[in-house]
């Protein structure tokens, strides 16, 4: 089977083309770097079949980021039969830079000139045939949003002889001489020689090739006062500029309203940003809360209650009940919160607003050791930590991902808000409930500031392309949100099931009661809480609001004020909110930042929760 790969800058419509060809749900994204990982699908065209892989959006294949390294390696040593390079016709010059690099690999290539409509309204008419003649490979002009001309890609992938690009970019004569001698001496290709001169790693470049390239590179740098990387980059940009001028003719520009004059200024940009974020939170909160209640209620009535009414063997009843509980917890989070949130985030991404939000938020995020992009996980975390941690992928460095993940697990998600409002606001008072928020925000800010000082790793500033503002297409918004919910369910469900069943067993065999009598004195001494309250806290690990529910069940009454003092309720809520993220969050943490970091965060929040609770208990005793 033939194999094709899609390569291109971020947000040029690669994912859209991939979607169109494969019919498989993948995301179309405006936010640089969201399609992390390789997505593959099978395309059926007439009688024939071929596979197609969508690579993450990149600006260059000679960079040092993980994605760029992966793609470089894949393109040079991979088994792809045809590279399909997708270009944004409106920003042809910038896109040609990457195309030139890819053409130099001398692998079969087809060029897709996408967004021809956008280019035209921006006053640029691009001559695809002339571009094709320049590169010596076919150029397909498309409008991916309308699906125009996309079937032609299949024809080229399946055609008899695959076109190899012929273009030869001109480089500075020192670079060319260096490249020639490297090629001759080590029998490597021109592209490999250039990679070596740019000091980028590749598995086909042995250490001694790199070493000799390094010596030559130092010599060139001395002469030019510029690194070969810079010279080669500048040469490629010049070639790209020359080609663009040759193939572009100017057309009348359609005047478009420029919303950026509103969106990226401090005023009214920042108020708009705040309103948007609060609006999204409010909607997700209200609608999500309603949906969750409905889902849980329906499942209780139609699944849980009939199941318990069966009167099965007590052990089976416990295990079955635990499974149902896990499914309820999973779905109760996935659909109302994760899905809704992702619909909004997808809209923000696809409209291009997210990049503007990141720009405006850059300043505030700096205090926490993050950059503008860090705003998204933090906002998401008020809804649910799981999608929030999933969104830390947007952040460029591991350092930022770790800091953001820690802060996300501390911020009160909607489930924790249920605990605060259900316990503290109802039984202690509104002021007390707000004071819990106050304590959390102070802690988050302090820890953010401390983390930004102590977390190892290099700090890069933000270099972010502002995506074009455009109307989102509902179909793709829903598809993208659905993909993420599916991912969440895949990750969180197994863990939820296992832990729920284990807790069920423990309860059945009386371990919970044993634990309770064991923990009772400790719990009293440290937190001033009775043992059953501590057990309720443990159940909160499954789903945070379960701590609240379990407390009521264990206490045997919904009137919590009758069994615990207001001080105890306050401490219970505070500890519950701070300590150990829920199982789903731990699962996603392990996937995103690794088992070790996830374990670290879990232990850290556990310690933090207990010590803040103990501190509170101590203060209350003094009063």
């Amino acid at each position: 089977m033939r194999k094709a790969v899609l390569v291109g800058n971020p947000s040029v419509g690669k994912s859209l083309i991939f979607n169109h060809l494969t019919g498989l749900g993948v995301e179309v994204s405006n936010y640089p770097g969201t399609t992390v990982g390789l997505m593959s699908g099978i395309v059926r065209y007439g009688e024939a079949e071929f596979s197609i892989t969508d690579l993450p959006g990149i600006y260059s294949i000679s960079g040092k980021s993980a994605e760029e390294q992966l793609i470089r390696e894949y393109l040079v040593t991979g088994d792809a039969d045809l590279i399909v390079a997708v270009l944004d016709a409106k920003h042809l010059e910038r896109n040609l830079y990457l195309l030139l690099q890819i053409a130099e690999l001398r692998k079969p290539l087809v060029v897709i000139l996408n967004m021809m409509d956008d280019a035209k309204s921006a006053g640029k008419i691009i001559d695809g045939a002339a571009l094709s003649a320049k590169f010596g490979v076919p150029v397909i002009e498309t409008i991916a949003t309308e699906g125009k001309n996309l079937e032609k890609i299949a024809e080229y992938v399946l055609s008899e002889d695959l076109p190899i690009p012929k273009i030869v970019p001109r480089y500075d004569h020192h670079i060319e001489a260096a490249s020639k001698s490297l090629q001759k001496y080590h029998t490597i290709s021109e592209a490999e020689a250039l990679f070596a001169l740019e000091n980028v790693t590749l598995s086909t470049l042995s250490p001694d090739i790199m070493e000799s390239a390094l010596v030559i590179a130092a010599e060139i740098e001395k002469r030019h006062m510029m690194s070969p990387q810079q010279i080669i980059g500048a040469n490629r940009h010049n070639t790209a500029k020359a080609i663009t001028e040759e193939v572009t003719s100017i057309a009348p520009v359609k005047k478009r309203r420029n919303l950026d004059s509103l969106l990226t200024k401090s005023f009214p940009g920042i108020p708009i940003l705040i309103l948007t974020m609060i609006g999204i939170l409010a909607i997700v909160f209200i609608v999500g809360g309603f949906l969750e209640e409905t889902i849980v209620e329906l499942m209780t009535i139609y699944i849980s209650q009939p199941f318990h009414a069966l009167g099965l063997d007590p052990l089976l009843d416990t295990v079955g009940g635990a499974v149902i509980l896990a499914i309820m917890s999973g779905l109760g989070i996935a659909f109302p919160y994760v899905f809704l949130f992702y619909i909004f985030i997808s809209i923000l991404e696809d409209t291009g607003y997210l990049t503007r939000a990141a720009f405006l938020a850059d300043r505030g995020m700096h205090h926490l050791g993050l950059h503008g992009q860090g705003l998204i996980p933090l906002v998401l975390s008020f809804g649910c930590s799981v999608p929030a941690i999933m969104s830390t992928r947007l952040l460029p460095t591991r350092r930022e991902r770790v800091i953001a993940s820690i802060l996300v697990t501390m911020l009160p998600c909607s489930a924790r808000t249920v605990v605060i409002s259900g316990i503290v606001a109802s039984f202690v008072g509104f002021g007390a409930a707000f004071s819990i928020y106050g304590i959390i925000f102070i802690l988050v800010f302090t820890i953010g500031v401390v983390l930004s000082k102590i977390t190892p790793g290099e700090q890069y500033g933000m270099i972010l392309e502002m995506a074009e503002l455009r109307k989102p297409i509902p179909k793709y918004v829903f598809r993208k949100a659905w993909m993420r919910v599916r991912e969440f369910l895949y990750i969180a469900m197994p863990l939820l099931l296992i832990s729920s069943v284990v807790l069920g067993f423990l309860e059945y065999f009386g371990f919970v009661a044993m634990f309770e009598s064991f923990i009772n004195p400790i719990s009293y001494a440290v937190l001033g809480l009775p043992g059953f309250a501590f057990t309720a806290l443990l159940f909160g690990i499954l789903r945070k609001e379960m701590a609240f529910e379990t407390l009521a069940i264990m206490g045997g009454t919904a009137d919590l004020a009758a069994i615990l003092t207001s001080g105890q309720l306050y401490i219970f809520a505070l500890v519950c909110v701070l300590f150990v993220p829920c199982i789903s969050t731990i699962a996603i943490l392990m996937k995103e930042i690794g088992v070790k970091a996830a374990a670290g965060i879990t232990v850290f929040t556990l310690t933090l929760g207990i010590s803040i609770g103990a501190l509170c208990n101590f203060i209350f005793m003094l009063l």
Binding site: G63, R94, H224, M225, M226, A234, N238, D362, R363, I463
Partner: protein, 233 residues
Amino acid sequence: MTFELSEDILEAILNTGKETVKISSLENLVSSDTGGFGKAVTCLVEKGYLNESAQGVSLTEKGTKKAAQVARKHAVLTSFLTEVLGSEPDNASKEACLMEHTISSETIEKLDTFLEKRGPGGRKGGYGRPWGRRSANSETIQKKEHEGHVELTRKNPIVSLSECPEGSLLHVSMIRCFAKHSRLIDLGVIPGELITLRRKLDNNAVVITVKGCDIALSPEIAENIMVERCNTT
């Protein structure tokens, strides 16, 4: 520190312009409050940097070379401090005195190249090498095209991107700490490129237009991009 003191001694002798300098006058020239002066001189003589005679001390060939190196570092640093950072000359000289002992030769070479390339107002007094003369992307001073065929002239000082006002048309001169920001080349922010400063927030975060694309940069990156303003005439 004997090491710094001995470098200061060599430099001081060179600065007097005399063959031989009396020990007593030398001690006044080198503002040493520690008692190590005599010891330092003896040490320098032992190592072959100085010749000691009845009239005083004089530099050997090795000593002259070393002194010239230190003096050069001093000059380059002073010029950097006064002309680029705008420090007061007196303070600059004092600071340079402290820095010259620890700065590596490599850094001083780079700094010197930077100053040489600075052009008008550079330490060479008159018109130094224009920016980008050696850049692979050679650019003429007068340039047509870009944003509706305007005639551009560039005779303005080189400043960092963060210092320019919104809406200005700029010519990229240099990128400092280049290795850290290699993504900038991929996006086309290279010496010789014309960019427009679209937006600047009060914390100096900016949005620039390069090759028709809007790019947001955080303040610490913007301040490393050195640009020259283009006057549209």
